[in-house]
């Protein structure tokens, strides 16, 4: 399937404007963006999980309860929508954080929970910023 989102200037502009409005809390690191907006995605949250999504919240998702230090060997679940079967690493556009999570969900640029990071509180969803199509590990805390 042709992937046009990487090169769509309008989408990037939209994303930057959204993040400009939403990126707030930043415990300093290589670069952290708070991307959370209150909300849920029921397919993922239904089983106490937090998810990364291939594109929109209705696209294919990869679900986790605690995260993974290397997303290179994980794939978007089959039969869950556009992008199913694709490798998760460097391929996710959005994240959702289950409302049973004690604190936050974090998406990191590098494996091993290092590098720039996008994060949200529980009960939120959001579009990745620093790690948009560039995420390598995810942590749920």
């Amino acid at each position: 399937m042709a992937r046009t989102r990487r090169s769509t200037a309008a989408l990037i502009a939209t994303m930057l404007s959204i993040v400009g409005a939403l990126a707030v809390i930043s415990p300093a690191s290589a670069g952290n963006a708070y991307i959370g907006v209150d909300g849920r995605e029921s397919r993922c949250n239904n089983n106490s999980r937090s998810c990364l999504y291939y594109s929109t919240l209705s696209s294919a998702y990869w679900a986790t309860t605690g995260g993974d230090s290397d997303l290179g060997n994980n794939y978007f679940a089959s039969g869950t929508g556009s992008g199913a079967g694709q490798r998760v690493r460097n391929n996710a556009a959005r994240m959702s954080c289950y409302y049973g999570v004690a604190q936050q969900c974090q998406s990191y640029f590098s494996p091993g929970y290092t590098g720039s990071m996008d994060w949200m509180f529980w009960g939120q969803t959001g579009q990745l910023y620093y790690t948009w199509n560039d995420e390598a590990s995810m942590k749920v805390i």
């Binding site: 993040v19 400009g20 409005a21 939403l22 990126a23 707030v24 809390i25 930043s26 415990p27 300093a28 690191s29 290589a30 670069g31 952290n32 963006a33 708070y34 209150d38 909300g39 849920r40 029921s42 949250n45 239904n46 106490s48 986790t64 309860t65 605690g66 995260g67 993974d68 230090s69 290397d70 409302y99 049973g100 999570v101 004690a102 604190q103 936050q104 590098s110 494996p111 091993g112 929970y113 290092t114 590098g115 720039s116 509180f121 529980w122 009960g123 620093y130 390598a136 942590k139 749920v140 805390i141």
Partner: protein, 316 residues
């Protein structure tokens, strides 16, 4: 049975966290609760913590935890008003883990592992993965006492029905705009955003990204790589090392510890952290000067939010 959350217990726990943060960084409790004051020097502190100038304007890990804690408490108060169970106890334990994992300013892994004691004990693992593996994998995670997901609970929590329509009333009670999470957000930040604007994040990110192209930093990384190779570990950058180990397994392998200790020793030998932080400090100070007015306003907004957060957490 509903677990009632104790504000007194929360206050005690948050005080303990302030002490923990002070222990980690050498800061006083007031500094730990809120990173005020002028731009501090880039100072490697105990356990590999690094403090950079922009950190004076950023929320600390403890600040973020307190903010999240207050949000959870307020949402819980609201949910109970509508007859649902809700607690926030898990937040406290997770915040302690978070400070240990990333440090008070979130910089603990900015340049990879930099402390020999940490390398010896954890290798490249997060401390929480080794010390509390069940929690780290989500197996022991709280559900905030909400129990089984139902449409009614979700509707009150988020203020919308399953099809996305705003929910006005439940059982004769008016549902807050944005649900209980919306009420929590408003009580902390009014109509504004939680915390501070993107400018702090942007300065921190740009500082780090530009440092990767600085000749002095890249030369120091080259010397670090040569030092590692001489000890039998071939890596182009300290940012690439962690990916080569299984960080999900709570057991830290001997090879990982040996690599991490060599990593720390080589960083010291070539003075990598000093060179790296020197670049970031210079860049950040110039940006802070450029955005001085905006950063001062953000600091004032942050102080007001944290004042409200303290009142919520301590039951004031």
């Amino acid at each position: 049975m509903e677990r009632r959350f104790s504000r007194r217990r929360a206050a005690t726990s948050m005080a303990a966290l302030a002490v923990l943060a002070a222990t980690v960084t050498g800061c006083g409790a007031d500094d730990a609760a809120s990173t005020g004051g002028g731009a501090p020097a880039a100072t490697p502190a105990a356990g590999g913590e690094v403090v950079l100038p922009i950190d004076a304007y950023a929320l600390t890990t403890v600040d973020v935890g307190r903010l999240g804690h207050a949000r959870t408490l307020l949402a819980g108060d609201c949910m109970r008003r509508f007859g649902f169970t809700f607690d926030a106890q898990a937040v406290e334990a997770d915040l302690r883990d978070q400070v240990k994992d990333v440090g008070l300013h979130g910089n603990l892994r900015r340049y990879g592992v930099t402390d020999d004691a940490v390398a010896t004990r954890y290798g490249y693992h997060l401390a929480s993965t080794v010390e509390a593996p069940a929690a780290a994998t989500g197996e022991a995670r709280s559900d905030h006492g909400l129990g089984q997901l139902t449409a009614a609970k979700e509707a009150v929590l988020f203020g919308t029905t399953a099809d996305g329509k705003a929910l006005a009333q439940v059982g004769g009670q008016q549902v807050p705009r944005g649900g209980c999470l919306g009420e929590a957000r408003t009580r902390i930040a009014d109509a504004g955003q939680l915390g501070e604007s993107a400018v702090v994040s942007r300065i921190s990110a740009e500082s780090f990204q530009r440092s990767l192209n600085d000749p002095a930093v890249t030369a120091a990384i080259g010397r670090w790589s040569a030092c590692m190779k001489a000890q039998g570990h071939s890596y182009p950058s300290p940012l690439e090392v962690a990916a080569t180990f299984d960080l999900e397994n709570p057991t830290v392998a001997a090879k990982e510890v040996a690599t991490a200790r060599a990593d720390v020793a080589c960083k010291r030998q070539v003075d990598l952290v000093t060179v790296w932080t020197r670049f970031e400090e210079t860049y950040q100070k110039s940006q802070i000067e450029k955005h001085a007015q905006e950063l001062q306003r953000l600091k004032a907004d942050r102080a007001e939010q944290l004042k409200r957060v303290s009142a919520v957490v301590t039951g004031g």
